[in-house]
Subunit: 336 residues, 3 copies
Amino acid sequence: MQLGALLEAVGAAPQGAVPAVDIAGVCALAPGQPGALAWCGSADYLEQARASAAGAVLLAPGLDPAGVPGAVAVEAPQAVFAAIAARFAPDDRPPPGVHPSAVIDPSAELGADVRIGPGVVVGAAAQVGEGSSLDAGCVIGADVRLGAQARVGARVVIAPRCQIGARVLILPGAIIGSRGFGNHHDGQMWREIPQLGSVRIGDDVEIGANTTIDCGALGDTVIGDNVRIDNQCQIAHNVHIGAQTALAAQVGIAGSTHIGAGCMVGGQAGISGHLRIADRVILNGGSVVYQSIAEAGQYGSGSPLLPAPAFRRLIVLLRRLEPRLKTLEKALRRGH
Amino acid sequence: MQLGALLEAVGAAPQGAVPAVDIAGVCALAPGQPGALAWCGSADYLEQARASAAGAVLLAPGLDPAGVPGAVAVEAPQAVFAAIAARFAPDDRPPPGVHPSAVIDPSAELGADVRIGPGVVVGAAAQVGEGSSLDAGCVIGADVRLGAQARVGARVVIAPRCQIGARVLILPGAIIGSRGFGNHHDGQMWREIPQLGSVRIGDDVEIGANTTIDCGALGDTVIGDNVRIDNQCQIAHNVHIGAQTALAAQVGIAGSTHIGAGCMVGGQAGISGHLRIADRVILNGGSVVYQSIAEAGQYGSGSPLLPAPAFRRLIVLLRRLEPRLKTLEKALRRGH
Amino acid sequence: MQLGALLEAVGAAPQGAVPAVDIAGVCALAPGQPGALAWCGSADYLEQARASAAGAVLLAPGLDPAGVPGAVAVEAPQAVFAAIAARFAPDDRPPPGVHPSAVIDPSAELGADVRIGPGVVVGAAAQVGEGSSLDAGCVIGADVRLGAQARVGARVVIAPRCQIGARVLILPGAIIGSRGFGNHHDGQMWREIPQLGSVRIGDDVEIGANTTIDCGALGDTVIGDNVRIDNQCQIAHNVHIGAQTALAAQVGIAGSTHIGAGCMVGGQAGISGHLRIADRVILNGGSVVYQSIAEAGQYGSGSPLLPAPAFRRLIVLLRRLEPRLKTLEKALRRGH
């Protein structure tokens, strides 16, 4: 397909002439791939762009096209690139219809054009929205509502009564709405506190592979619109996550914590229960959060990575830091 | 159902008169829900109780009932609440019997009143105790023994030969008894050390969604009675966990470590291998444990969460802390 | 079986006479088990060896056999032990052939002697190598290439187009090749960046239970030969892991990071994106890595585990460490 036609197909307005090249796919800028399209969003990558083997390169406006193969300037080149890449992406959904090995309760409501793979189970009175796909081995509980155009990966479990919006993408192995970790000790032993809430997930949400989102204890666990959650995250009961917040992999959020909108949480960060995190908070990967955060901004916790002997000395030093500092301060007070 | 009848049904002895209200469910204290029951265990929440929309509120003995809607005093109000909540909890187990799509080895022994969902696989000579349920897509290996009244969630895998007690609750996606991470390097390459042990799990245990518990290398991995394990925990080969210990989500315990009874381990904590942790140890979330802990008590590790610029300065400071402290101490020794 | 025959069967050359004992299994050195074989690799364990109930003990050459039951010296006793243990390991693979409940696309190519369990799904044009086994509930996507003699555990998902070598061991619940976490914010909302790469895995690799390995965004995610990955690890898009590197459980590696060969990464360690880690780097468990590591060696980060009151004081102290140190240094500069 000609580059000009591709740009038109995704609604991009090139600035200046469009090179007359055929584009058969997309590629990384370095090293690039003949006949494929790459993108370059800043001058930092112009050298790579000039050396690229790509057939064409989308450039951010204002970048010098000299020497860049098949250079064409467009606004938001990454967005244009993503839209074009989507046209080359294979469609890995199950074929239209219901695989004969799927077990669909007669009272379930399947929207038009659903795609349901082998071994899928859909429970009583569950609703699967128009155009949604359920990949092999998914288990959709009774009374679940799943919106239109959702894509649910292989072996995902959605527990009864969860409500999930449109255009949601749930990756394989994720578990939505299983029991929250609520127990009380009656003096003799731990006993379950029934978890009677559910999970409500907005539209345009992504949920990563093997991520777990627990149902609420009484009210619901709530995931806002356009939240992006990476693999192996753990969202406990009654957590609320504001719209457009993104969680990198292996993040854990304990019960009843509310995260604002537009936050970005780095990988493996952990957030204690019953906290309030403001909008637009950025947490470094590995951060441990014990207290609410009232102000937008970037935060981190942790310690430096050191060669093992220096690390061991730092550990010893930190164990004895308080008395050493106090001794110094006392001596100074005496001395001066 | 009348509140008085509900209290009687769960064996609770109200102190004083019971308001004549109908209860149709349970709710959180704040904001509460008309016709539903809430609870209040301490004076800290009395204000919420007075403002609650609940139809009735269970109060800890001694709390002032003035202004609390439908107030009734009972011992252990949380326990009474949990017992009543359980009566309103929907039963999400598969229906009684064996779904026709399940694959049950002819030599497996299914107890009376089992409930086996679609696509479940039960291996040779496996025993499933009376009244136990296996939700959709579970895989129960050969020679597994699963006790009575166990509830096994969707897509759980229990490897061959694991022994699991009565009334165990295993949440979706958990994997019990897969291979321990045992390899040796023969000078040329890593080679597997066969993992020949199994997993033994006591009675009344809860195991969280997508949690993994490895089989032992030679002896067994052992989980004591009434242990509570949250989602995405990793229990390595030959770990022993004492009775009534609770692990929050994403905890990792390395091989051959023994954890005592009655411990509470916070989320994302990590415990190295071959350690001994005493009974009644409490670990803060995110703690990293490299050494055995001989004394009961609460422990933590970590560093403060700081705004990013202060965090970066702390990292730099910690890298150079040792020489700076030594310089100060040397100067003081010279000076005084 | 006689010990001498067993040693011969695994190609081990005993040094000196071999005790004429029958061996019916393997056991740990302590306490040992009558009729079973144990091993002892260093003088540190000789006392345990002498007290062992084992029927025979493989000793490293040079260790004093006095008092050790059934002592026999061999080179690399652990390796010999592992080889003998493998002969006693039960074969938990599905029986040869394809279970009737499996759903195999007609265009898939199954090698000779494959073993395919109940409910397995194999997509169009997928290739399963000779002698490989797929346990219950696996989902193998279209165009996957899986080498010979691979063992794939229950409910593993391998996404379309992944290429996996020979003799690979994938434990239950692992997810290979699901979508990388690539999104861009267009000013209005997060939008997906199509992830068009795949995952390439070498020969003799182990992948742990519930581990997730994402497909590449444009190029591939690459796992070298004989890499060993424990449970619940997260490998992001376009990560490269060099041959024979071992990752303990719950490690997370962010996108586009390259890890060298022969590294050992401790449990729960986290490595940021776009870094380069040299060959033969050892990371302590729980390390957080924000920068590339150019030199082989052992590294760690973290802080000491302290009783809760001391921990709280350390947190407070670290928050105010910079001004306290500066005050001291200023005072000293003035004073001396």
